[in-house]
Amino acid sequence: MDMAKVIEDVAFNILKQAVIYLPEDVKQALKKAYAEETSETGRTQLKAILDNIELAEKYQAPVCQDTGTIIFYVKAGAEAKNLDKLEEPLIKAVRRATKEIPLRPNAVDPFTQKNSGDNTGRFIPYLNWEIASGESIELTVMTKGGGSENVCLTGMLVPGEGINGLKKFVIDAVIKAGAQPCPPTILGVAMGGGSDIAIKLAKKALLRPLNEPNPNPEIAKLEKEIFEAANMTGIGPMGLGGKTTVLGVHIDYAYRHPASFPAAVAFNCWAARRASAQIDADGNVEYLTHKMRW
């Protein structure tokens, strides 16, 4: 068995799953929003989104023309072999996916403004590593749209304001973002750690399915509170007004320095694309998010 080839194929497959088929939880949330939205204009937008999702599946085409920046999350078993050689097959998979699916080339050198043309470049695709026990590798891909990325926010809040400061920070961010991130959006929110840790946790929180509140009931309560508050803004689908502004709020946290209160909000648009698979030591593959497709 050629493990590198297995990894490349799995990475290609999850990329394809992600950009064409939205996860079931996101689809369900959009359907629910369509059923409950009272603004007529808002409803036209949600209907267009649902129609577009169906067409993408039918024609096997990416659900949005912006196929995003490609980010991998690797949960590597400590006993897994050749982890130092994992990056190459992932890069190969991205190049192949760009050509074959196809994906829009979205990797630009910030110095020369030149687009590499194949979605790869320094640190791109980006790999987030986590070590787990065992010998298998869990691979997750997120393709992150630019419109929703442009409104992500990190802030150093006043520690004395506590959680209230965080609530205000998130609501202000949603209002400032307005129509830009293609609402309805999903919010990843994090506090603590440091500025870098907060935004990393916030973005990772976007991977959690929409129907899974935080296991900690206190945080789950805060998620619900911010969710309801964000949907009171009236921004609505595509900023045209309505009660569906966010589909979910996912919160995570780290302990903080006594003098700092880092906070971050990561936005994901309705085209919240992610897919995962697990590869065991013998090269057996289990697709975790898009089971029916393969």
Binding site: T44, N164, G178
Partner: protein
Amino acid sequence: MAVYKLKTPISEEEIRKVKVNDVIYITGTIVTARDQAHRRALEYFKQGKALPINLEGLAVFHCGPVVSKEGDKWVAVAAGPTTSTRMDIFEDEFIKNFKVRVVIGKGGMGKKTTDAMAKYGAVYGAFTGGAAILAAKAIKSVKSVEWLDLGTPEALWIFEVEDFGPLAVAIDSHGNNIFLDVAKKVEENKQKIYQKLGLTQ
């Protein structure tokens, strides 16, 4: 909310019937233009040079499509809207000089464009952000492409479309602008939200 099916070229009289919150579908010709194309078109006008296509009565689409060439024919693969606010600095002159009747994009446009739409008779149709396949399926053919030297996304793509939409009319030719209204309402709601969350200003 009324639904209108419009055929290009669209007359000023026809477009003035359309109000905010209506939904329109367009059949005929739409032309993509982003920042660069807007800039060049206005330069041409200043120099008295004709554009490659007469835009009167047509729709301009803020879009950088994904296209592929099959043989010697172009095909639009994905064609969702881009954020319109970047074109705000050009659009009033654009509407005035070229008499486009519909501007298509996402995210809305500001006061200056709204005023020009009222004065010269045009509307802004919001196309659902990200709904690229829905748009591409309404594009029946790529009639031609001009100014390819600006790059694929920035070129003028001239599309033959059938029932292109739904476009939510967010700015009409009577000075109404849903995005500005929503922004005002959101500002009011913000106070209520702060209160509910137990926040002070």
